[in-house]
Amino acid sequence: MKQIIFLGSVLIVLSCATRVVRFEQYSVTMNLPVAADSSVVIGNDQHFSGVLWLNTILKAENVPVEKIKLIQNYGRYFLCAENFQHVWLIEPEEDGLSGEFKAIDVTPKDKADRYTDIGFSRYGTREHACVKFRFNKQEVFINRKGNVDEKCNK
């Protein structure tokens, strides 16, 4: 009986394993123009992968924005623009129609500062990569949950 249960569980594990393919969801930084309706097209005419409506975020930042920088790390989007006060993390919902977002203040000690000369890149290993955020000649690492650190920790 034990042998049957063991064999069965091995078969179940194997069958599950065959239903998984390797898939990495990340991107290089995109500079995306903001449309009049506060939307940005992710990709370009040839490689179109979605639209983000940023009305709420732009309202919160309350600065004129022509372009935003956006990077994807493990399926989550991180975006920012010149003179923003936050990096914004957007996590797509399962319905594929909406996303939860949260503001990340990378300089919590200085609530009034604005980020200039900004840049995103990914840093780390394949299994554990952070978003490196460069601003005001400084850099910080944001992990996949949105926590900020001076190093890329797990």
């Binding site: 990495e24 840049g119 995103f120 890149s121 290993t125 890329c152």
Partner: protein, 375 residues
């Protein structure tokens, strides 16, 4: 002094090294791409190499190897393609420049045509070979556009549009001298001939044939002069470039303005002297001549080699308007009469033949189907 320089170099290299090391792979990659979009493939290749060095020093800069394995090789491939195109364009430029030699021809109208044809053909061939080089390799459209900003591309553009003309201008400067001399000589001959014709018309004893002969000679001189002016305008045609300056100086020194003015004046006199009506073919020639003179005036004015002759051209136009054009007659009354007589004779002959055959025909029994048959 040496110490100061070496210290200064050390400081500069430290600042440069720190700036380079502080760059992200993404930024280095973007800089390489931007350089390639400017057509600067060398900077692009240096940046690609920098990015690779950074990744080698710290693999965490490229967590998934997307830059190392995908983006940088693609960009490097485009940069190398652009490099090969630019090398081919540079070779094309050098070879064309060496091969393009205008032979020494006798300075005349024919030489202008031959030189112009050779220049046009060389320019067209150059552009065609350039385009075939561009079409022979695959390159993303944005980088293909960037090629237009490269020195090699611009050099070829300049060679095709300016340098060939520049080379030709040296030849044309010599020819311009000969052509203007020739026009002045024709003007002089023309005036003498026109005066002779005038005298002949006044002399009651002059024959019609003699006058016609002189008029034909004048028309031939007019045509020859037009050919010379056409050659000059052909040399001046195109962009109002500085390469033609030497030729312009020659034309001005030779007083092309006066030569051209005299040419129009004599043409006006010729048209006025025609007096009576002329046929449509001669009229068409006069109109063509007038249109050409108008065009030469525009070209000479544009190149500042002669003053505006619009006033004379207006007189020329007015003289042409006074000409009466008659339709050439296709036959005379005598010819019609002869034709009518021949026609009547023909009809009479046919009538005679037909009637004589009827009287000679034997009557055979049964040959007439309408005749009654014996049974």
């Amino acid at each position: 002094m040496k110490n100061v320089i070496s210290k200064w170099l050390l400081v500069v290299s430290i600042i440069w090294a720190s700036a380079v090391l502080a760059q992200d792979i993404q930024e280095t990659y973007d800089a390489a791409k931007a350089a390639l979009l400017r057509g600067d493939y060398q900077v692009a290749l240096v940046k690609i190499s920098d990015a690779r060095a950074h990744i080698a020093a710290d693999p965490q800069l490229d967590p998934n190897g997307v830059f190392q394995n995908r983006l940088l090789p693609n960009l490097e491939n485009d940069a190398n393609t652009m490099a090969s195109i630019i090398t081919a364009l540079e070779e094309l430029y050098s070879s064309t420049e060496i091969e393009l030699v205008f032979p020494d021809l006798k300075p005349n109208v024919e030489a202008v045509h031959l030189y112009t044809q050779q220049a046009r053909s060389a320019s067209e061939q150059l552009i065609s070979r350039r385009d075939s080089i561009l079409a022979s390799v695959e390159l993303a459209p944005e980088y293909r556009d960037a090629l237009r900003n490269t020195v090699a591309f611009k050099q070829i553009e300049r060679l095709a549009s300016v340098e060939i003309v520049e080379k030709l201008s040296e030849k044309f400067t010599d020819i311009a001298l000969v052509l203007t001399d020739s026009i002045a000589e024709i003007n002089s001959q023309y005036q003498t001939l026109a005066a002779n014709l005038e005298k002949l018309k006044k002399a009651s004893a002059s024959s019609q044939a003699e006058r016609k002969k002189l008029e034909e000679k004048l028309a031939a001189l007019s045509q020859e002069r037009a050919n010379y002016m056409n050659a000059i305008s052909e040399m001046l045609i195109g962009d109002n470039s500085t390469e033609k300056d030497q030729m312009r100086i020659v034309l001005m020194d030779q007083n092309l303005s006066d030569i051209f003015g005299t040419a129009i004046t004599t043409e006006i006199k010729r048209v006025n002297a025609l007096g009576g009506a002329i046929d449509s073919s001669a009229y068409r020639d006069i109109i063509q001549n007038y249109e050409r003179m108008k065009r030469y005036n525009e070209i000479f004015m544009k190149n500042n080699v002669a003053g505006d002759q619009s006033a004379l051209l207006a007189q020329y136009e007015a003289a042409i308007k006074n000409i009466k054009v008659v339709q050439p007659t296709t036959g005379t009354p005598i010819r019609y009469f002869i034709l009518a007589v021949i026609g009547l004779i023909l009809i009479f002959v046919i009538y005679k033949i037909v009637t004589s055959q009827k009287t000679k025909r034997p009557t055979v029994a049964g040959s007439d189907p309408s005749a009654p048959h014996a049974t």
